[in-house]
């Protein structure tokens, strides 16, 4: 009886040790993974021209496509071409210039639209039809 009791005690300790080991390995792996996540850098993009966006930044981050979609229907079907919430308005402020002073498309690598959409893994289809550089009116202004 004594021996069997000792054996039982030993086997319990052993399974406990295995469990602890598994948990430890899991924790270490988890920490390593979370470390890997921390290494995914936040999107970096050129700063916009102009003083302020048409909406607060957190609102724009969450709902910009709703604004764009609403404005697009108003523009195409009703002819309302106000710049607020228009795609052209976004591009006019957010397009960056290269070293030669030429506008870079907003969907080029590292630019405003592309950098965030790559980070969020969302494909943007706007620029297969729409101009990704500012309108001629803005391009000609200094």
């Amino acid at each position: 009886m004594i021996w069997s009791g000792l054996f039982e005690h030993w086997s319990k300790r052993r399974s406990c040790a295995i469990r602890t080991g598994v948990i430890t390995v899991g924790l270490v792996a988890g920490m390593a993974l979370s470390g890997a996540y921390a290494q995914v850098s936040q999107p970096v993009f050129p700063s916009a021209r102009g003083e302020q966006c048409v909406e607060p930044v957190d609102v724009m981050r969450r709902d910009h496509f709703e604004f764009l979609k609403h404005q697009r229907d108003k523009t195409v079907h009703e002819g309302i071409r106000t710049p607020r919430h228009s795609l052209a308005g976004c591009i006019d402020c957010h397009a960056d210039k290269d070293a030669q002073g030429r506008f870079v498309p907003v969907n080029a690598k590292g630019q405003f639209c592309q950098s965030c959409h790559v980070y969020a893994a969302v494909k943007i289809d706007c620029f297969s039809c729409h101009a990704a550089r500012p309108s001629e009116r803005v391009s000609q202004s200094p």
Binding site: V76, E78, G79, R81, I91, C129, H130, A131, E136
Partner: protein, 249 residues
């Protein structure tokens, strides 16, 4: 007013009197005008059914061999072809006609006729093809699936399909592969209170064969000319009530 007094001071006084009367007539209060400007619309107001934009083509003034309207349209909307006439987009084309009996020759531009009863809108399965309140027939390319029913339905062959990927589109003229497009009557210019590019080019070329305006406004030069002269619709038998009319055809 003393009509005999022809001194500069008097002339200036007369000018100011007339000018102030004119200003009083035009602006009673901010935003309230007795005489509305014919073309301008407030930027945040939707297009209204009180207007119907139209075009008069004077075939007698249209010159054979001149393609000022076509090239102006191509430049305005960035319709750079791929040197493939069978498939390149064509929003406006010049058509030359010869009467076989008399050998009388005619040349005229043909584009979307902006019908009141557009067959392209009837057949569109997604509602992408639509007629704006002010009569301009357009394609909402966000909902166009590229089925090309409208191209088959249009009696004027006014629509084109974009077969290839495009780059370098203009901000005011978004265009993309897999969608159908046609003359927009330069809707972006009309919304700014300007005439379409083809009309401007024709006037600049000295032909003045194209007149743009509001068919519903009796004081508009277009409506006046339509009222005074005999004009024709292309394929009037279809009873589409087109906004583009031809004189001398």
């Amino acid at each position: 007013m003393d009509m005999k007094d022809s001194s500069p001071a008097s002339a200036r006084r007369t000018f100011f009197t007339q000018a102030s009367a004119g200003v009083a007539l035009l602006a009673l209060a901010p935003g309230v005008r007795l005489v509305d400007l014919a073309l301008a619309r407030v930027q945040d107001e939707p297009a209204s059914a009180t207007q119907r934009w139209g075009l008069l083509v004077d075939v007698d003034r249209c010159v054979s061999g001149c393609d000022a309207c076509v090239s102006a349209c191509d430049t305005e909307h960035g319709l750079d072809g791929n040197e493939r006439p069978q498939t390149d987009a064509q929003w406006i084309r010049k058509v030359d006609l010869v009467d076989n009996n008399t050998e009388h020759q005619l040349s005229l531009p043909v584009m979307c006729q902006h019908c009141e009863e557009p067959p392209c809108v009837d057949v569109c399965p997604t509602g992408a093809s639509f007629r704006r309140a002010d009569g301009i027939v357009l394609v909402d390319k966000h909902t166009c699936i590229g089925c090309r029913y409208c191209m088959m339905a249009c009696p004027y062959k006014a629509r084109s399909f974009i077969h290839e990927d495009l780059t370098g589109q203009k901000t005011h003229a978004p265009r993309g592969k897999g969608t159908v497009e046609s003359c927009t009557l330069c809707v972006h210019r009309v919304d700014r209170g300007e005439s379409p590019a083809c009309v401007e080019a024709c006037t600049d070329a000295g032909h003045e064969a194209l007149v743009f305006g509001d068919i519903n406004d009796r004081n508009d030069p277009l409506a006046t000319q339509l009222a005074e002269t005999t004009t024709r619709e292309l394929r009037a038998d279809l009873k589409l009530n087109t906004a583009v009319r031809y004189r001398g055809l």
